[in-house]
């Protein structure tokens, strides 16, 4: 920026600079308002205008879900767990790694929506729902894995608290029951938290649609009209939810980590597993949101107005911060085991870092630390959507490897040489493809049925944001409307 000094010593920008500064500000969605009716039309179009290729992809995903998820699971139920690669001593393996991965992914929705809402981060407004949906569908994909892993899924109801045939109740002091309760609470809470702010948008969709869509939105919007009492109650409830769902989110992945940490298994028995898992969950989840935003922006009409470079920039910064946090916890975890010199711990870590699968460990470090640290400091990279997509994809591979190392990696080669084993996933690979397809399928269908952009929140943000002149500059200011 060229400036000229005035006698007082205060630099005054040229008029061209003022214009370019204003253009920079206009790049932000909150400073680029459009009439409400136009925003409604854009969001409705994004749902209704669907190319044929979309339905081809949906068909392929549905087929993959039917064959790879339900077909393979049914095959495993009929043939027994032998068709999986699970062998002594690796009884927890890829299915559990997938479970941890998907539950982790689901954390980003709440993080983006609730935490940023509580802290009134304005940039969150157009992207909250896209992230929240990821929570719901990530949980749906993840919650299937304990059932798949059960093997004898037909006795799964034993975990429900009622006296079963053996007159035994579930042991509520078991981490596995904590897991069930935490995931149930989080899943139900997340669905309600998605639904409450969605109701006004469903009513908007009702007012702008006909035929089956009208009936669909009419039923789901519960008869919402926008009366002041309705708004007040929704707003009160959203505030309560935003505060209450945050500790639930933290509890879920902490409890998932306790599935491992509560055992005396070397590598698992760690006091920092809870926060370490949470950091990893948010790290992979935020990376996944960046990927989803790229896909939504590229594949849905009008989304480039709502999802902008500023959002990718913000996600790039979040990913970088959580990469630091994750590295900090991982280093803690590693250093203490290495420095303490406990033979059994050291044995496991040596096997991971120097054994035949050590390349996985190094690849994980490159993907989770090397890639984000080398790229995301650069503003240009952060503001390039496809680059964020690639980085997010690589980080999620890295985070998957992390879970793979933790679950089968730390129990396959252990401190008892007579109990070493080998693990190679078999039908688990097919099921993994199926669950990924399920997540994508649910998201694709939801993107055509549910307004992905919370229009009323965007409009409210645009009302609250304005440019204020301070001296020679126009500065963005936000009014607290809540």
């Amino acid at each position: 920026m060229t400036t000229e000094a005035v006698p007082s010593g205060i630099p005054v920008p040229h008029s061209n600079d003022v214009e370019s500064e204003e253009n920079d500000i206009r790049e932000h969605l909150m400073h680029d308002p459009r009439p409400r009716a136009e925003l409604n039309r854009m969001v409705m179009e994004s749902m209704q205008v669907t190319p044929k290729s979309f339905w081809v992809i949906v068909g392929i995903l549905a087929l993959l879900v039917a064959v790879c998820l339900f077909g393979a699971w049914l095959y495993m139920i009929m043939k027994g767990m032998g068709v999986a690669g699970i062998r002594r001593p690796t009884f927890w393996a890829m299915l559990i790694a997938n479970f941890v991965f998907w539950i982790g992914i689901s954390h980003a929705g709440t993080f983006v929506s609730a935490i940023l809402r509580v802290f009134k981060a304005e940039f969150r407004r157009p992207i909250t729902r896209a992230a929240e949906l990821m929570t719901a569908f990530g949980l749906a994909a993840g919650a299937m894995y304990p059932l798949i892993h059960l093997g004898r899924v037909w006795v799964g109801y034993w975990i429900i608290p009622y006296p079963n045939q053996r007159w035994l109740w579930p042991n509520f002091r078991s981490p596995l029951v904590w897991d069930l309760l935490a995931i149930t609470t989080y899943l139900l809470g997340s669905i309600m938290y998605i639904y409450l702010p969605l109701i006004p948008d469903l009513a908007m969709a009702r007012d702008h649609s006909t035929g089956w869509r009208y009936q669909f939105y009419r039923i789901l919007s519960f008869g919402f009209t926008g009366a002041e009492g309705e708004w007040q109650r929704i707003r009160t409830a959203i505030t309560i939810f935003a505060f209450a769902i945050i500790p639930v989110m933290f509890s879920v992945h902490t409890i998932v980590s306790w599935d491992f940490a509560m055992t005396k298994t070397p590598g698992w028995h760690s006091t920092i597993f809870g926060p370490f898992f949470i950091a990893g969950a948010i790290f992979s989840g935020v990376s996944a949101v960046a990927m989803i935003l790229f896909i939504v922006r590229a594949s849905m009409k009008n989304m480039d107005y709502f999802i902008r470079k500023e959002h990718f920039d913000a996600f790039g910064k979040l990913i970088l911060v959580f990469s630091f946090v994750w590295a900090y916890f991982y280093f803690n975890e590693f250093l203490l085991a290495w420095y303490a010199g406990d033979a059994s711990d050291q044995f496991v870590w040596n096997a991971i870092t120097q054994g035949p699968n050590a390349w996985l460990w190094y690849l994980m470090l490159v993907l989770n630390i090397g890639i984000p640290w080398l790229t995301l400091w650069n503003k240009k990279v952060r503001r390039t959507p496809w680059m964020l997509f690639v980085i997010g994809f690589l980080i999620n591979i890295g985070m998957y490897i992390e879970r793979y190392i933790i679950v089968p990696g730390m129990i396959t080669v252990n401190r008892f040489p007579f109990q070493w084993g080998e693990y190679g996933p078999r039908i688990e690979l097919v099921i993994s493809v199926g669950s990924l397809s399920l997540f994508l399928l649910l998201y694709a269908l939801a993107s055509r049925l549910i307004p992905l952009i919370p229009v009323w929140e965007v409009v409210e943000g645009q009302h609250a944001t304005q440019l204020r002149r301070i001296g020679k500059a126009k500065v963005p200011t936000v009014t607290n409307l809540e």
Binding site: L188, M192, G229, I240
Partner: protein
């Protein structure tokens, strides 16, 4: 049922709506016979209305307490009912029950908060309502019950304040 007919006035901006509410009050239409319908949440202070208190926080607390009680029943009651004696392990363990208590209490809180919204709004209500679809396009509507003797004065006043449309109206299917 108060005497009078239901009217609807449509505005483009919130400032004249706040002014209109004040004027309607001056003309003798009480607050409880007015309702503001909008596509955005405007606070009672913005509209110059009395703040009404919501029962939703109470619902949340009730849900939390019920979840807490349920967790106590499951944690302690089930152990008493079906004791599983394991050597060197206590029958009642407080640290581990905290987790179940936390999860069920939070589940109760979240569930009852949601149910509170549904209950207070009397949802679902798919029946007839006084409504205009352009509210979701940014218009703001004042629904009010107007005694026949001040119809004309009210309509003139609302028109002067910039109301785009003022008319007697009836509930319709939405």
């Amino acid at each position: 049922m108060p005497e009078g007919t239901t009217h609807l006035a449509i505005f483009n901006e919130v400032d004249p709506v706040a002014e209109a509410i004040h004027e309607l009050r001056e003309l003798g239409i009480p607050d409880n016979q007015m309702n503001i319908i909008s596509g955005l949440p405007y606070s009672a202070e913005m509209l110059g209305r009395e703040k009404s208190w919501s029962m939703i926080p109470k619902f949340s607390i009730i849900g939390f307490v019920l979840g807490f009680v349920l967790s106590i029943v499951l944690n302690w009651g089930s152990v008493l009912q079906y004791p599983l004696i394991v050597g060197n392990l206590p029958l009642f363990a407080i640290p581990t029950t905290i987790i179940v208590t936390f999860e069920l209490s939070m589940l109760g809180l979240l569930l009852f908060t949601f149910l509170g919204v549904v209950w207070e709004n009397a949802w679902p209500s798919w029946g007839k309502k006084v409504y205009r679809k352009d509210v979701s396009d940014g218009k703001i509507a004042i629904e009010f019950i107007c005694p026949p003797e001040i119809h004309t004065r009210v309509h003139e006043m609302l028109g002067a304040l910039g109301a785009e449309w003022v008319h007697r109206t009836e509930a319709t299917e939405i």
